[in-house]
């Protein structure tokens, strides 16, 4: 891996770290606008993070080292996963390390510890949250995988870089014809994974409706900051995955300097437009009942199957 590529991919990771709060700010802002409120300013979200980092903590006496360790594990996992996705050019820092299965399972590892930590303090909320979270995410897993596999089938590779590169080579809109269902599937999964309406409501603290919030109820201070941040990062990862796999245009291959100047802009554009879509969904739809969510995920799975079938029926190279 050449020197410049290394620098670039490092820059990508940093970009994601930096950008993550902004994206969720964007969505918050949209909602505020839709409710005729003036939402927080962009600076506010960073300020909140900083404040949390600087605060002290209150920790339950029941908490064990699992509770303490979880934020670190979660964040580092998210970080590693983040450094596997290509952002504004076809390479990524650790993309060579493994393929999309590794990527998915890294995120799963984070979730595993999150769910454990939720049980650690022995509240009924924690248990409820972790139970629901694990249930939904395990139902989301096959849809996520199958959608990715459908793409992989098209690209003949499982590596995220490879996917991005492959779709970047294809003529636009021809690919979309097959992959659109997969896009739908991944969108639904992304919403579920990043805990947004209609699956989960990030804003609520009403025990019956919350999932993700319930798990981290006991956290405060720097730990909370880490968790929130990695949550936002995860959301951004999914968005950029969507962006770079389905709309790979303008993804530069790290040779042309012009492309390098041009592609981050395009990336931002894509990300925020996707964020707009998600925000829009969030504005329009109400939260689903817990036991309706599986149906939604089922839809996602069916979409994934459809995209696979489409490719099989019409042959790979149409």
């Amino acid at each position: 891996m050449s020197y410049s590529r290394f620098i670039l991919s490092l820059a990508q990771v940093l970009l994601i770290l930096g950008l993550a709060p902004a994206v969720s700010w964007f969505i918050k802002k949209m909602k505020a606008a839709s409710q005729n409120r003036v939402g927080p300013t962009l600076l506010q979200v960073y300020a909140d993070l900083g404040k949390l980092f600087r605060k002290g903590m209150v920790i339950s006496e029941r908490a064990s080292w699992i509770f303490h360790g979880m934020p670190y594990v979660l964040f580092s996992v998210t970080l590693v996963a983040a450094s596997m996705v290509p952002v504004f050019f076809e390479g990524s820092l650790l993309g060579f390390m493994g393929d999309l299965i590794v990527f998915v399972y890294l995120l799963a590892l984070g979730k595993f510890f999150l769910a454990l930590a939720a049980l650690d303090t022995g509240t009924s909320f924690g248990g409820m949250g972790s139970s629901r979270e694990m249930t939904l995410s395990s139902l989301a897993e096959p849809a996520l995988l199958l959608a990715l596999f459908a793409l992989a089938y098209h690209a003949k590779t499982l590596s995220l870089e490879g996917l991005a590169a492959h779709f970047n080579r294809q003529a636009p809109f021809r690919i979309l014809f097959f992959t659109l269902p997969a896009l739908g599937a991944l969108l639904i999964v992304a919403i579920a994974e990043s805990g947004r309406i209609p699956v989960d409501n990030p804003a609520t603290h009403l025990e019956l409706t919350m999932i993700h919030e319930a798990m981290i109820l006991e956290y405060s201070g720097p730990y909370l900051a880490l968790i929130e941040w990695s949550h936002e990062i995860k959301q951004l990862i999914f968005l950029s995955l969507l962006a770079n796999v389905f709309f790979p245009w303008g993804l530069s291959n790290a040779e042309s300097v012009a492309g390098l100047l041009f592609s981050p802009a395009v990336y931002l554009l894509k990300i925020f437009s996707l964020a707009f879509v998600i925000g829009w969904i969030e504005i329009l739809s109400a939260k689903l009942r817990l036991f309706r969510v599986p149906d939604l995920l089922g839809v996602a799975y069916v979409l994934a199957v459809l995209s696979l079938l489409g490719q099989l029926m019409m042959g790979r190279w149409m």
Binding site: R54, M97, L119, S131, M134
Partner: protein, 673 residues
Amino acid sequence: MKSLFVLQIILYILGGVAGLSFERNKTRTSVLTYLLAAAGGGVGVLYSLVALRGQNLLVLNLPGFALFGNLRLEVDPLAAFFIFVISFLSIATSIFAIGYSREFKGKSAGFLGFLYNFFILTMILVVAVRNAFYFLIFWELMSLVSYFLVVFEHEKPEARRAGILYLVMTHVGTAFISIAFLALFANSGSFSFDDFVKSAPSLSSVWKNTIFICALIGFGTKAGMIPLHIWLPEAHPQAPSHVSALMSGVMIKTAIYALLRFLFNFLGSIPSWWGSLILVLGIASTLLGILYALMEHDLKRLLAFSSIENIGIILLGIGAAMFFASSRHFPFASFALIASLYHVLNHAVFKGLLFLGAGSVLSATHTRDMESLGGLIKNMPWTAACFLVGSVAISALPPLNGFVSEWMTFIALLSGFQCEGLGIRFFSPILASLLGLAGALAAMCFVKAFGVTFLGAPRSSHSEHAQEVSPSMKIGMMILALSCFFFAAAAPFIVSRLGKLSAALIGSEVPSSYFGRGSFLLEPSGLGQFSPWFAWGVFAAVLMSLLVLGRLWLKERAIQIGPTWDCGVPNLSPRMQYSATGYSKPLRRIFSFLYQPTRRVEVEDEGHELLRTAQRFESKIRPLFEEVFYRPVAKLVFWISEKAKQIQTGHIQLYLSYIFVTLIVLLLLVRLT
């Protein structure tokens, strides 16, 4: 080499005898037996590692019954691999058992040691023997000894019931296995495996299919393949924990071993539908196994069910291998086979670890019911840590060994992309995604298992006053916990070794460069790649640095310890935590078509429903296979027997008429022929 093999056998025999000979209930005796067993395991690991290379296989040729040929023991690479797995696990369990067998003071722990040693011995022999007749003998002995281990605490009625179910089921299996072997004998005219292999081409396809089906049923029963699994969750929990570790860890794998022998050695070329059938059974076992595991709140039963899941994963690998072999994609085939063999090893390690953990919990709290556990991580940090490692590994999460083999299974399934035929191209990703579902469910299952057992607040005085277990038990668990990391890191080496083995099985030489470059594992057609080293190198680096930073950062932050937030309700009691049953409630509801749960709520109140004094909630799921198939069959058999017993009425005239009628019928028969 050969001497080591003999030495291992002798060590086990000595261990067994030691268990019986010296004073029964002294700790010294059990220490001696288990040390001998551990030594045997060590020896086994030594020579099996060498024999795995495949040069100079060791052969022992003992005289036997005249009609059935010699008792020939031979350690070829396949056998060596399984011997390695058995021996390796048995080291850890034996060391664990030294401390654990204190549980059985006064219940003739010596006898337990005797059975334990012979159990391991029979497994080794089953793997090593090369003659159908003696194979059956050792096979049945293995079942018999394990039966005695299952009913070791036979004052418990459920243990007795489980024992009967177990032995009868395995006996049914053995009947099918014997048919398979006898058919091979009828074809080859001899009982020796070599002749089976020689005469494999001359098998007619009808016989081939019959033998395949019989072998599948027979060994599937032992392996706990759905729908033949019903004995497994009953029997495994009943045995003493170090034995359950062996049963779940390796005993069911001997069935996998035998299945491989049949499929790749005895039956010659493979029709493609075999592979598909095994794939279907595999995915069924995987999903149903973990789904049933999720509903358990008995720790050891939960583990037993998850064994069914893992057998499913192994079968997925084998099925894929067979399919690819039948469509002559040999690189893929051997990759799939590597995956399944690798998973055999890994599952042995972490399932063994988990059972040992469960054993420690059992010995510390004397209950297996998760509903009365909790908060053990405070009093038993070591056990908790080891159990956590096991849980992460079995949930197939990076960077532990479980993930490596699961990743390979994924890839093996996805290689179906490369094959001709819409069917495989369509179903391979579907199967893979379902495997993903199973993985996620497993993660949930073990979050529940670990979380409810070790985290939160203790739910009973047992778990509140639990003590950390004795050093030997800790050591036993540590060995396995560490090897969970080791077998992940050693992946490239293991894969190259297994590559040779699987190539030999499939019968086509595939260069190991297909499967790995440097520290990377490769899919033969470059579909995907993964480097466990990097994965957990990077992960560990990031984590470590974060931890350091975090510590530094938190130094000057004020951290105060307070009670858990009780949302204003005073004195938050442990009973307000989520219970194991509650944890899996959403799934129980989502998959209600499978579970068909029934619930009973009893409320006691003082006149008005708001003035509740007590409330009892009970929720059961319907064991589908038992109720739909097994119980009706058993009922039918007994009904028929009852009816058939009518012939013995006690009237002598009737008896005479039996003779009479038979005679006349026979006379007419002769007349007419």
